[in-house]
Symmetry: C2
Subunit: 591 residues, 2 copies
């Protein structure tokens, strides 16, 4: 079954829940984002995802990438799809007009990204990494580096982010790649990077690598890391391509999923590079990008939930097996498996997760518009707080439930789900990376609980907490908002419990993931409750959409009955703290 | 990292927790199973698993099986390992001496199977399917069919179980393969079977297929299915091989995992077959085998937990990344990641699951000895009740937690876990089938709650409930037994809650999986508590093993603090029942 963009739900979230039309009127980039324009762009994005990217998803998985004479060859059709994508201006859609973009809101880029990433995660990583490189250069590069941007925005040149080395992933402070100053102000970069997504490709004339490296006299650890721009092919002052730089792809990893994307070992051997930003401030420059890329991972993870749900649902409606207790198709030998309560449990879990993820992701995208925008300062600060709090939750929580949801996708199909042909197992494999890259769930938990909440003495939570509390108070007799408020209050109590023990740093690391998951279930409760309450208001006024709104209410009811109770377990495990984890001697794990 | 059989823990479970020496003295097959013999057999099994099977695990995954001129070719080394296995008499170890076996206890076969299946799941499916076929023929075949057995027990001939068809898996009542009586008393079998594990191989001279099919005048559904023996190559009366029968492998499935095993489409075109048991009683004959094979799946799932734990632990002890809050290796730039609380949370989850699974699986194996044995009737009936209750739990629960545990194995390694080379992702893929075949978790939930517990008005639970209650009462001041008893009592209350609503069959299907999981967490609590209490007694008497016993207590403490609280969520979801699942209209799932 091929992907079908859920246009009705995208509209619902944008127009009926999160008031994107109003939002776009309030930001400068929204000027051209009229409802008609937005709708047309989403329709076009959906068509491209459905007709071009979706059919390439299995091809990419089966062919993978090849390294031929030091050059990565992408799967059949990837290059053509990329040209179509860049020629239609998709990369530049949310980029500034000054660098050749269309100046539309970032959020609109993220919403169209949903359709693309659901159709073909591996493929989207080529343009998406380029976008990350563009934003990093734009934010931190000096004037001469800005000259790289126009060719990147048109897609003529792609880009990568080179962070990880074989001995350091989560702990970048250990990295060893060296940057030796040259006389002309450039640097000579030497070292080996691993796990570089889209590290080399045959889809662009040149590749602009963004590389973390260390100057000879740099301090140890994270404070001695600088950021460099290293082109695959050197660029002359007039913008023309010159000689090959000292950068090469040493190998492509053989991996569990996202086969269509080349995950490369990249070797830098005295490659000419240019400093981005200040010396030894590389990590803080990187963080501009890392936060946005974490939101992109949340969307990848969501894409796999959605795709798995669509495929599993089609199967469940079609596959005749066993009898419904209340036999629905007496004229046939069996009923479609969607009638069985346990199959519905699995489908509803997927449905609640895909709809919750869409709400949270679009909400975050909206806040990115504001946080990066020129609106007055209080709103901007509020948006930054919301993002600081919600980014690790979106990344960590959605990627974790994506594992579960895609696992259920296989389970709904039974043996057929285990077979390559169904496509369900590809969703399961492809999404497995989302809890890992751009910071594992453990790192997200530390970020949320340690760097964000405890470091700000809880202040970073307030804008979101206030918003949820206000919603719950406005609807204080409704069962969904009562339960949401109860979860929120428990989260706040648990925050105090952890804070009271935070002088022991093991405590934060020991409960970080459970705390993040608790927060995630609470955030989803809020958004699904909000969607359901809006649906309750509209259901009688709108005969045509009655079933759509009914389904929203039923999904929220399922979520509050079957999913939110997971907070009960997490409450207990957060309270039990880190002691049960630390009691075992390091050497006693195995015998 | 290659597999190392956990001999110390195997001994602990057998000798110190479950009193296998005493058990073997009480059953006839135990006569030769002296402690020395048992120990020697386990050591030999461990060597074979470590030295022969483990190195073939990745080869099997990477090469997979090929279909060449209608003949399945197994991966390099599989055939040689099979010869070594059968020549050393491993297939016959738990088989009756009357058919050429060694007459040792079934449980000893299952315990040696643990080492094999942990080292190489896909490979073990060749001998294991043969064993299933042997047992089915032995239990239900008439005298002439018994003559097939000696060649199967020596491994000269292998065997398969052919159940599933493309339109029916869980619902075998729909199957269409036809059996037309021939004049000579044999049958002519025609139809197509899918998902046939070890369906064709190049490792045996002949393959004895056990096939479900339907006579022309058979009643519809499950009551019209008969069981047949269908050899790949016809066997003459003198036992020599004759002409090829009308059986062929049409295709090998491309699938998520267990690549080393050929999952075949098997076409029967007027193949000569022989009735096993009575006409139309095929399903009840099959169930002899299905119950044992469900316990084998529980062991496969356990094997993946153990293998993933071993690999993840080795990595966590070796990989230097980030600083421990209480810096352990100040002379190095980072600490091994095992010091981090979140990494320990993941490792301890794996450790608790592998140790709990070993306890439950060995306990079940012990009950199989008694249930199939000639002991006096009350004990036998009790063992049958214990197995009726524990089999769906072992199969369903261990396979579900195996998904989680192998996912954590990847997560502990981060990006390196996503890469093929580490082997962690193979464990994750290979175990994915265990929640599906031999009855999905949904089917296990229905079996446990519907066919077993409610159908017997709870009586089937009593032997296990009494045993756990007695243990908890004997240790009533201990925190672990208090918590175990509380979980058990809640399980009983929930059983009453479900029973009170069981006039609605959606209810059983709607909460079956949650109920099964609740039961699983409770059963593991009992076994881990028991192991911990024994360890507390021994810890001071035994300086050499002090750390071993300490680890048992720490693991149980972890389990009770961090894992057993999952029952709180399940309690809520079981109580909320099926209504939230059934409220959605079938047609409203998608828009």
């Amino acid at each position: 079954m091929s992907y079908k963009a859920p246009i009705r739900d995208i509209q619902f979230v944008m127009d009926e829940v999160l008031d994107f039309p109003g939002h776009y009127q309030s930001i400068p980039q929204g000027e051209n984002a009229t409802p008609e324009m937005v709708s047309a762009i989403i329709q076009e994005a959906a068509k491209f995802a459905e007709n071009v990217l979706s059919p390439l998803n299995k091809i990419g998985d089966e062919q993978g990438c090849q390294l031929v004479d030091g050059q990565v060859i992408t799967p059949d059709g990837f290059k053509e799809a990329y040209y179509q994508y860049v020629n239609n201006g998709w990369i530049g859609l949310p980029m500034d007009e000054s660098i050749g973009g269309q100046g539309l809101p970032t959020s609109l880029g993220r919403i169209t990204f949903e359709t693309q990433v659901t159709a073909n995660h591996a493929w989207t990583m080529y343009p998406d990494l380029a976008s990350g490189a563009i934003k990093t250069i734009q934010a931190h590069g000096d004037k001469s580096l800005q000259s790289y941007l126009p060719n990147m925005v048109t897609g003529k040149w792609s880009g990568t982010m080179c962070l990880t080395e074989s001995h350091c992933g989560s702990d970048l402070g250990l990295l060893r790649t060296k940057a030796i100053p040259n006389q002309d102000g450039s640097y000579s970069i030497t070292g080996s990077k691993i796990f570089i997504s889209s590290g080399d490709t045959d889809i662009a004339e040149n590749i602009i690598h963004i590389v973390l490296a260390r100057l000879p006299d740099a301090p140890q650890g994270i404070k001695g890391i600088s950021l460099f721009l290293v082109p695959k092919i050197k660029v002359s002052d007039d913008g023309s391509l010159g000689n090959k730089n000292g950068v090469s792809c040493g190998a492509i990893e053989t991996k569990l999923g996202i086969h269509g994307n080349a995950t490369c070992t990249m070797n830098f051997e005295g490659a000419q590079g240019y400093l981005i930003g200040e010396i030894n401030k590389g990590m803080s420059c990187m963080f501009t990008f890392i936060n946005e890329s974490r939101l992109a991972v949340a969307q990848q993870a969501h894409g796999h939930i959605e795709a798995s749900f669509q495929k599993a649902l089609a199967y469940a409606q079609d596959r005749m097996q066993m009898r419904a207790p209340k036999r629905k198709f007496p004229e046939q030998a069996a009923d479609p498996i969607i009638v069985h309560a346990d199959v519905r449990r699995m489908l509803l879990t997927q449905k609640a997760f895909t709809e919750g993820a869409r709400l949270l992701n679009y909400y975050c995208a909206q806040q990115v518009d504001i946080a990066h925008g020129e609106s007055h300062s209080a709103e901007k600060l509020k948006a930054q707080s919301l993002l600081a709090f919600l980014t690790p939750i979106a990344k960590g929580f959605i990627s974790e439930v994506s594992q579960e949801a895609t696992g259920l996708g296989i389970q709904i199909l039974g043996g057929h789900g285990f077979i390559r042909e169904s496509g369900l197992e590809q969703e399961y494999r492809d999404t497995r990376i989302t809890t890992i890259y751009e910071g594992t769930t453990g790192i997200q938990g530390l970020d949320l609980l340690g760097r964000k909440i405890l470091a700000s003495k809880g202040e970073v939570m307030l804008p979101f907490v206030d918003q949820v509390t206000a919603f719950c108070n406005e609807n204080k007799d409704h069962s969904f908002s009562k339960q949401t408020l109860m979860a929120l209050n428990t989260l706040l109590e648990l925050t105090d419990v952890v804070a009271s023990k935070a002088n022991d740093p093991d405590e934060i690391n020991g409960v970080g993931v459970d705390y993040l998951m608790f927060a995630g279930y609470t955030v989803f409760a809020y958004f699904l409750a909000k969607a359901a309450l809006i649906s309750e208001e509209k259901i009688n006024a709108n005969a045509e959409d009655k079933n759509f709104y009914q389904a929203k209410i039923a999904t929220a009811n399922f979520y509050f009955s079957k999913i939110l109770p997971r907070t009960k377990t997490l409450q207990a495990t957060i309270i039990s703290g880190s002691a049960p984890l630390m009691a075992m001697n390091d050497g006693d794990f195995s015998f």
